[in-house]
């Protein structure tokens, strides 16, 4: 037994994040932690690393009992961790980040060279191409995640905790990560693995612990369960199919036409979306999908080509103008780009329309309230109170609030950029249902996703991007993972 949690309770003002949770982690196993958004997974592992102190309960590591751990002491006990939020310092080099807090030094003086050499060794071991002297801020998200992993490995951790390590990764990068996990396991490292991606849970993990609303539901052997049962344990009810059916609602009317669009890292893009259609955009990270969305939404300006909406050529210079044309963008980074965390749910839902519904600059609060209530009910945002700040909601509900904000603008084209990243299975299927109802309503949807299953499950048609260009187009009947990967990574 490597790690034992005994009766852990963690309370935040008004929330019991963990309620009397006990858990054993066996030496050498890969142990999955699953549950809905807000179930308490991250909180639980933070108590193991000393990032937060539980209100009650004890933690036993290798037989040694702790009531108050610190990040330092857990590290000394051989616990390494990759947190859900990035914990890198952009301003420091890769090597310095890997050795942050444990710099190789002589007296007060650090030894940069030695750290670079050590870092290079780790990268070599796992076949990663990163320059240890590069500043972390200059790396893409995928590479940053690899640095995080290298950082945890460099501690020679006996227990490695990974909180949604694959969330920011594309399929290929995720596969590399899986290989790494298996290598580590083979070398005797114990692993706790948190993920919302069910496929990797079943692929990698020996045992699974399910949390729901801060309580442990059960711990089971992977071999004793299947997807449906696990999902039922997680959400506490039976879930109908993941990708709900939708009526065939594609009309002949072309809503958006893009001709030879260039700029912001994309080149010569041609595409058409019809009313009632879900067009999927697949590709690896860095393929230029978000960049394309930014051009359409007026975040960045184009350098050439044209965009036609409803038959009129448009050239939005600001998101504000794009919204005016009836375009909406649900951005990929919810916390950084989507939510006004300190503002209420109502405020968030109404922020894009308050100007429109104001009279003589003065807000119409009744109307704001009506709209907020309407969308809360329509897409079932789980909150007793619209005056809650959005930061107090779970990830899935935050995402719904942001979608509600866009629905309130009554758009004709909705762009979803990684709409279900870090969102639990239950909330996922609700968001899919929402996408369906949008297209059934005669709107068009452009859906960017790095989850292969998701693009294939939801799209009527898929465009594949690579290095800023469209490299392939597939109709629903031709959808095939291999083909798409081929387009995305061909040379």
């Amino acid at each position: 037994m490597f790690l034992q949690l005994k009766n852990i309770t963690k309370r935040y003002p008004g929330v019991v994040a963990l309620n009397n949770v006990s858990l054993d982690i066996h030496e050498g196993e890969v142990h999955a932690l699953v549950g809905e958004n807000g179930a308490g997974k991250s909180t639980l592992i933070k108590t193991c690393t000393g990032a937060i102190a539980p209100n009650e309960g004890t933690i036993v590591i290798k037989g040694q009992e702790f009531t108050s751990l610190t990040p330092k002491s857990s590290e000394q006990m051989g616990v390494g961790v990759i947190y859900q939020e990035f914990n890198l310092v952009d301003e420091l080099t890769v090597a310095e980040n890997i050795f942050l807090g444990r710099a190789i030094r002589k007296g007060f003086v650090i030894d940069q060279k030695a750290m670079e050499v050590e870092a290079a060794k780790i990268f070599k071991q796992f076949d990663i191409k990163i320059n240890p002297r590069e500043l972390v801020g200059n790396l893409t998200i995928g590479y940053q995640q690899l640095v995080e992993i290298a950082k945890a490995i460099s501690q020679n951790a006996k227990l490695l905790i990974m909180d949604e390590p694959s969330a920011p990764l594309t399929q290929t990068e995720a596969l590399a990560l899986h290989a790494m996990v298996e290598k580590l396991k083979a070398s005797g490292v114990t692993i706790v693995y948190i993920s919302h991606r069910m496929d990797e849970i079943f692929k990698l993990c020996d045992r699974i612990t399910v949390l729901r609303d801060g309580e442990k539901v059960s711990t089971i052997n992977t071999s004793d369960t299947n997807l449906d049962d696990l999902v039922t344990l997680m959400v506490g009810r039976e879930l109908t199919e993941t990708y709900p059916d939708r009526k065939d609602c594609i009309s002949d009317e072309i809503l958006l036409e893009v001709n030879n669009l260039s700029g912001n890292g994309v080149n010569g893009i041609n595409l058409k979306i019809r009313r009632g259609e879900v067009l999927g955009l697949a590709g690896l990270i860095g393929a230029g999908r978000t960049e394309l969305a930014e051009l359409l939404f007026g975040v960045k300006s184009k350098s050439g080509g044209s965009v036609t909406l409803h038959g009129n050529e448009i050239d939005p210079k600001l998101p504000k103008e794009a919204i005016g044309y009836g375009i909406a963008l649900v951005p990929e980074d919810r916390k950084r780009l989507g939510a006004l965390l300190d503002v209420t749910i109502r405020g968030n839902i109404c922020i894009s329309i308050i100007e429109r519904i104001s009279k003589f600059f003065t807000r119409d609060k009744k109307e704001e309230q009506r709209i907020a209530v309407h969308y809360k009910d329509a897409i079932r945002i789980k909150t007793p109170n619209l005056e809650q700040k959005i930061k107090n909601l779970s990830g899935g509900n935050q995402q719904k609030v942001i979608i509600a904000k866009w629905l309130a603008t009554e758009p004709s084209l909705v762009i979803f950029d990684e709409p279900t990243r870090g969102i639990d299975v239950g909330a996922k299927s609700e968001i899919y249902a929402l996408v369906n109802s949008l297209v059934e309503d005669g709107k068009a949807v452009l859906m960017i996703s790095s989850e292969m299953e998701e693009v294939m499950g939801m799209s009527d048609r898929i465009l594949v991007l690579r290095e800023g260009r469209i490299t392939g187009e597939l109709d629903r009947n031709d959808f095939d993972q291999e083909t798409i990967m081929g387009f995305a990574s061909q040379n």
Partner: protein, 323 residues
């Protein structure tokens, strides 16, 4: 979860009230203390005095708290006051302009200076503290250049009304302050662009993607800050009846202190005008009360610094407990 949320709601509410009233409790405590300690304090003429004394700060604090809400700062407030003083005085005295016209021009100038701050901050992406510091130095230099360092005085009698007149027993500067604070509260709570201040201050990137023209919000906020500073400058000019190169010196720190005492966060996104008023009044009451008690000016400095430190510390500790 529903249950805990309600609990949460109730706890938040209580804590919200404590927070909302916290600053008023400090103010009340000061009022009670000085009323007991000095017989000259709780006299209507003295209280009106205090109100008049703080009114300039109160006027400028409205624009300043907008800037803080946006996560910025405006160190040029004091120098704008100075320049408005000098320019309005110059126009009235040296160019013989009627007061009304001189005031309009000076206010337009102050708004333009504020706009310049906003423009540079929004377009060059420079840190507000640097932009407004540089602006402060430049504006001060210009004020000295225009006036040659000499006071400019000898205005029409009518001009003195703004700063020295009364409506009934109420000094006109106090009325101006109340109107502008009301306007500030209205902008923040009732207009859509007031909401934008919070949104941009809370998360600029998200605000932009939500369809807010962030640059325009910045132009507006810094323009308002300049403009309200200009109004304060005109009141000061009329009150002192003489254009002075030092009239605004250091004013920005008094205003910053008042806003922060009033619970406006210097990191943006949090604050409300009604509490800023309390912050302004605390500073005024302290200044007045300590003089009434005959506390030496040096000790006064120590006390004021300590009150600022303690009041904000209290606020921070409370916030920390809350989250």
């Amino acid at each position: 979860m529903d249950n805990s949320d309600t609990l949460n709601g109730a706890g938040k509410l209580a804590s919200k009230y404590a927070k909302q009233f916290g600053i008023y409790i400090v103010l009340l405590a000061l009022l009670v203390f000085f009323s007991i300690a000095s017989e000259n304090f709780l006299v209507s003429s003295n209280l009106l005095n205090v109100a008049r004394q703080v009114s300039m700060m109160g006027i400028a604090a409205v624009g300043f708290s907008f800037v803080l809400l946006l996560g910025g700062i405006d160190l040029s407030v004091g120098s704008v006051i100075t320049l408005v003083n000098i320019v309005a005085a110059y126009f009235m005295v040296n160019l013989g302009m009627p007061p009304f016209l001189a005031v309009i021009i000076a206010l337009a100038l102050s708004a333009a200076l504020g706009f310049s701050n906003g423009w540079i901050i929004a377009n060059i992406n420079m840190p507000p503290i640097i932009v407004t510091l540089a602006m402060m130095i430049i504006i001060e230099g210009i004020a000295y250049l225009i006036s040659g360092g000499l006071p400019i005085y000898g205005f029409a009698k009518s001009f003195a009304v703004i700063g020295q007149g009364y409506v009934g027993p109420i000094p006109i500067p106090v009325i101006i302050m109340v109107v502008i604070m009301g306007l500030g509260g209205f902008i923040l709570n009732k207009t859509y662009f007031g909401r934008y201040f919070y949104a941009v201050g809370g998360n600029e990137e998200a605000a932009k993607l939500s369809g807010i023209d962030v640059k325009r919000v910045k132009y507006l906020v810094y323009t308002l800050s300049g403009f309200f500073a200009g109004v304060a400058g005109i009141v000061i000019l009329s009150r002192t009846n003489s254009g002075q190169v030092l009239s605004g010196k250091g004013f920005e720190f008094d205003v910053l202190t008042a806003c922060v005492l009033g619970g406006v966060s210097v990191t943006g996104g949090v604050g409300k005008i009604s509490n800023v008023l309390a912050g302004v009044l605390i500073l005024g009451v302290l200044s007045n009360g300590l003089v009434l008690l005959d506390i030496s000016q040096f000790v006064q400095m120590v006390i004021k610094g300590t009150v600022l430190m303690l009041a904000v510390a209290l606020d921070c500790l409370q916030n920390r407990k809350e989250s």
